[in-house]
Symmetry: C2
Subunit: 196 residues, 2 copies
DNA sequence: CCTACCGATCGGTAGG
DNA sequence: CCTACCGATCGGTAGG
């Protein structure tokens, strides 16, 4: 299957890009991970950047889907609950495929100007969902009033930081991380006691 | 002055490493920023990695000094206040020289194995200060009980995220960022109302 | 700090 | 998917 080989390439590239960065990974490094020659990679991909672009695009799809789902499932619910669902969804995408998520979070600046602009717009739209929810909670008096842009940046970078230390199979399960991060995030915005 | 030229090199390199990463920046890129030839750089530095190492080491010094100062100034004070001082110090180092801080936060993996190990030990020690303070607050019942390692990772990556978006001279002053981030961080750990 | 230069490696192509 | 190969660029050295 052609599609399967593409995925293998992207998986190998994701983990190499995560570990060494896009610029620090050569086409031959990726090929080595697949036990083929460097030049043979071009039977499957148009360019090195093409691989990066595919990884970043798929990751963006997953973050957006997770947010869609979270917002649908908690439609009409209290804003704190909707925030928790958003956090849970985001952390889920992060831990489900750290390699891919890490590349999305940290390597998108290496894209070509055209692709960088396109992904930048999607990142902005995604971040705006968080800002709107935070603004809504602040206006409703449920969250402590805060600059929605700053608070969204704070939360998102705290969550995204997971890609710098998370290792599947490590001592902390995705569920444990998610539970703790949901609490920390909710508490950062809400005044009174939330749990415990 | 020899020292001054070294600093110029490190400053130019910091902002290039921040923007393009260590692997994505060539020795000739750095030289171009100083209006000299690529080979001329080697009159001042031993190697490209030598420049990275100098930047990372100086940043580590600054983070440690800020934490020392914060902990001295709040010695004997309530744990929440000590946490706030630690956050304020960390954010101050971040905004005082984002280029340098960004390289410390994101490019230290590009160091040679020996240097990476040495900086890794310092990073661990620094993070342990945060863990200990969080553990202390949890045990005293001032903070909501949380896994100190997870909570420290959450806070530190939230703060470090500043390097991904902060631009000196932008709409948000370092003071405004610091004030908001101090509140968000304190609230993430403490149950009851803190301010506002 | 410059010119001239080094071997190694880069992303990528041609032609099977 | 391979071999053979391309021009460009990499970090770095020699010798002023």
């Amino acid at each position: 299957m052609v599609e399967t080989r593409r995925r293998q390439i992207e998986d190998v590239a994701s983990s190499l890009f995560r570990e060494h960065g896009y610029a620090g990974t050569s086409v031959r490094d990726i090929a080595r991970g697949l036990a083929i020659q460097g030049a043979s990679l071009y039977a499957h991909v148009a360019s090195k950047e093409d691989v990066l672009w595919a990884i970043v695009r798929r990751a963006a799809d997953r973050f957006e889907s997770a947010a869609d789902e979270a917002q649908q499932e908690t439609f009409g619910r209290p804003v704190g609950e909707r925030l928790e669902a958003l956090v849970r969804g985001h952390v889920g995408v992060l831990t489900d495929d750290v390699g891919q998520a890490s590349v999305f979070v940290r390597e998108w600046r290496s894209l070509s100007p055209e692709h960088r602009a396109r992904i930048g717009a999607r990142r902005d739209a995604y971040e705006n969902r968080w800002r709107r929810l935070i603004a809504e909670g602040s206006e409703a008096g449920v969250f402590v009033p805060a600059d929605p842009a700053l608070a969204a940046a704070y939360l998102l970078t705290a969550l995204n930081g997971i890609v710098t230390w998370y290792r599947p199979g490590g001592p902390l399960s995705p569920r444990a991380i998610s539970a703790e991060y949901v609490n920390l995030s909710h508490r950062a915005l809400a005044p009174g006691r939330i749990d415990d």
